[in-house]
Symmetry: C2
DNA sequence: AGAATAGTGTCTGTCAGACAGTATCGC
DNA sequence: GCGATACTGTCTGACAGACACTATTCT
């Protein structure tokens, strides 16, 4: 078996699942129930199973389903992490994926097969994480921020119907800075992915028009 | 052994090595000397060897050295390709890297351990390629183009000293379209990575000032 | 002088940032 | 009316595209 490890790397998939709540941007972490790094917080992840998985992306989707009970359509590869030292079990490859969860489905996360799950601020993780997962979160966060900087709309983070102000708050949460309202609206008005509805969100003030994402929209 | 294949994927690294010659942008392909896909053209690549390689990127660097005798400092991961069907030897993962070769080192390519090597136009590959390498070239090309579109300067493609016109021709070769000279110069004048020299390239016409890349520059 | 290429000046439209203004609700 | 939030108008500076212009070499 030790001979095997010299020939075949262990292959993992890890997922950085982001959402936005009242506190801002959040990333899902799970507390490890097994060695190695037992008790430490980590990104949800698992071993690639060639007999079960059609691809690495499919493996990531399976892991999200079995470990935390969520079904995410939109997964994007971030990059790989590899080497002999990143996991005590041996030479390993981890392929990191980034995923976004709509803010009205935050509570849908179950905790199958893990000790605990929690949403944490990716800008200030309070824990010392397992393996190289602090690095992984940083890489996923940067990918997400770069896309939003390039005017991609993170509509996967929004509920079915949302106001433009809510969308702006979401982009601000991702970037970690506030934006000018008029500038933001002017920029996104041209987007094909944004569909106006006839509905309004009522509140204590002037009602805000509701929008929805175009079906089949991409986060690009 | 067949049991093994159900547990461990084969892990490959492939490299799309680009250069620019008089014809425009080129990508390096090698003709396979072994089964599977013997005789077909493919990107240079090889199996990850955990006992030799410190990381996937190191593996890519080793493959470039042993197969075609070039030593490339700058490697960038593009993405992974995976699944049961992409290689007849079994469930596999291929991690694709992109690399750039200076135009004055084009002839440095040797052909160790492969039947033949050739530089081909990545926009119009004439051959039917091995595995999913046509897809891989497309992905690497898009990465390269996107960086140049975002005003990154592909200085790794340039020789030690070069004129601004030569740099523009290189960018045009990458993008596959021509650019306005004044616009191009205005844009790159602000770049920290571009260092003016006192030397000039003499020719049949007005001499052109020579530039060099700042040492430690990044392609971003 | 003329050809050829290096390099610059300028007009125009577009868009981001900043900020103030108007509109429409609940109370 | 007042507070609060939605939404819009406008000024300004930066920059891209287009294109014409000047500069410097060789023959």
């Amino acid at each position: 078996m030790s001979k095997l490890k010299e020939l075949y790397p262990l292959t993992f998939v890890d997922v950085a699942l982001f959402c936005v709540d009242e506190q801002g941007l959040r990333v899902l972490l799970v507390q490890r129930a097994l060695e190695p790094e037992i008790g430490r917080w980590a990104l949800p992840g698992g071993i690639l199973k060639p007999d079960l998985d059609a691809s690495l992306e499919a493996a990531a989707r399976r892991v999200l389903g079995t470990k935390i009970g969520v079904d995410i359509s939109h997964l994007e590869e971030v990059r790989t992490f590899s080497g002999a030292d990143r996991d005590p079990r041996g030479w390993s490859v981890a392929v990191l994926y980034c995923a976004l969860l709509p803010r009205d489905q935050i509570d849908a996360v179950a905790k199958n097969k893990v000790a605990a799950v929690d949403w944490l601020d990716p800008f200030h993780i309070g824990h010392r994480l397992a393996f190289d997962h602090a690095l992984q979160i940083e890489a996923a966060l940067r990918l997400l921020q770069n896309k939003v900087k390039r005017n991609a709309l993170p509509l996967h983070l929004m509920p079915e119907l949302f106001t433009l102000t809510a969308l702006q708050r979401t982009c601000e949460a991702v970037l970690g800075r506030s934006m000018d309202k008029a500038v933001f609206r002017r920029r996104i008005k041209g987007s094909e992915d944004l569909v106006e509805t006839e509905e309004f969100e009522l509140g204590r003030q002037r009602p805000a028009q509701l929008y929805r994402a175009r079906s089949g929209f991409l986060f690009e």
